[in-house]
């Protein structure tokens, strides 16, 4: 087992354990801060798939944008919001049982599909050319954005403008009740 494998499984375990803690944690602030750990470990996993630009944008957009937005939204809005999220009286509800059963069954189905599939025999994967580890993917992504994926890129920019206006409109104070 080489160094690469050890690091990969370490980060994979870190993703799964911290995600479980985030979901099961009763204290909301702690669970948001643990969400950082999950996102950084996921960025590390993207590096193992030779997607360094994606890993970087994951760190910048999620850790720098989404999480800070989440924390700011709570600390700026009102303290009661944080206090009001006292966990419900603990107890095993039917709701929980159904949720656990559904997710475990779905996990079982997904694992079964993945085990049954032989990825090395897929036609397109045999014919494809994998990315070499010394390549400059940011350069490739820049070329792709301006050629083959220009339409999704433009749609995305219009969409982001809509989100900007919509979120500002929704979040403004003192609108009509």
């Amino acid at each position: 087992m080489g160094q690469e494998q050890i690091l990969f499984y370490f980060f994979g375990a870190s993703v799964l354990i911290s995600a479980l803690c985030v979901v099961l944690m009763r204290n909301l602030v702690r669970s948001i801060f643990l969400f950082f750990v999950t996102l950084f470990s996921l960025a590390a996993l993207y590096l193992f798939a030779l997607a360094d630009f994606i890993a970087l944008s994951q760190v910048v957009i999620y850790a720098g944008g989404v999480l800070v937005l989440m924390l700011f939204a709570f600390m700026l809005s009102s303290r009661e919001l944080l206090n009001s999220i006292k966990p419900a009286v603990s107890g095993f509800k039917v709701n929980h049982l159904a949720g656990i059963l559904t997710s475990i069954l779905f996990l079982f189905i997904l694992f079964r599909v993945i085990i049954k599939t032989n990825f090395n025999q897929l036609m397109w994967m045999q014919e494809s050319m994998p990315i070499a580890s010394n390549e400059n993917t940011a350069h490739q992504i820049g070329i792709h954005i301006m050629t083959a994926y220009l339409l999704p890129f433009e749609i995305l920019s219009i969409f982001l403008l809509m989100v900007l206006i919509g979120a500002a409109h929704l979040a403004r104070k003192g609108g009509k009740e």
Binding site: E4, G12, V15, L16, A19, V22, V23, L28, I32, F35, L45, Y46, F48, A49, L50, A51, F53, I54, S57, Q58, I61, Y62, V66, L69, M70, S77, L81, S84, I85, N95, A98, G99, I100, T102, S103, F106, L110, F111, I114, I115, F119, W124, M125, S128, M129, I131, E135, Q140, I141, H144, A148, P152, L156, F159, L160, V163, G166, A167, L170, A171
Partner: protein
């Protein structure tokens, strides 16, 4: 060289953790985090397969687009949650049971 299947095991587990959060949590923020987990699992799959797609680069490009869409979704969702809190004084999704008045 890490096989694709191992990436997919991790992303399937992450997806199911997100599914569990969406189904059982009583707190809108944690439901939102669960949705983020599911999106991130999808991005991990995109990236893992994008490794074998050097010419057209579809995997990495759409991973990037998915990350941006998820971030936009969080911004709008948080604005909605703040409004719901202002109106219902609670962000428990079981207590917000009216659409109009």
């Amino acid at each position: 060289m890490i096989p694709v299947a191992h990436f997919m095991f991790i992303s399937a587990s992450l997806f199911c953790i997100g599914l569990y959060a969406v189904l059982t949590r009583r707190n809108t923020i944690q439901i939102l985090i669960g949705i983020e987990f599911m999106i991130n699992a999808a991005v991990l799959n995109f990236v893992a397969f994008g490794k074998y797609d050097k010419i057209s680069g579809g995997g990495q490009m759409f991973a990037l687009f998915a990350i941006v869409l998820a971030a936009a979704g969080v911004a709008v969702a948080l604005a909605i949650i703040l409004n719901v809190y202002r109106y219902f004084k609670s962000i428990d999704p079981t207590k917000t049971d009216t659409l109009k008045n």
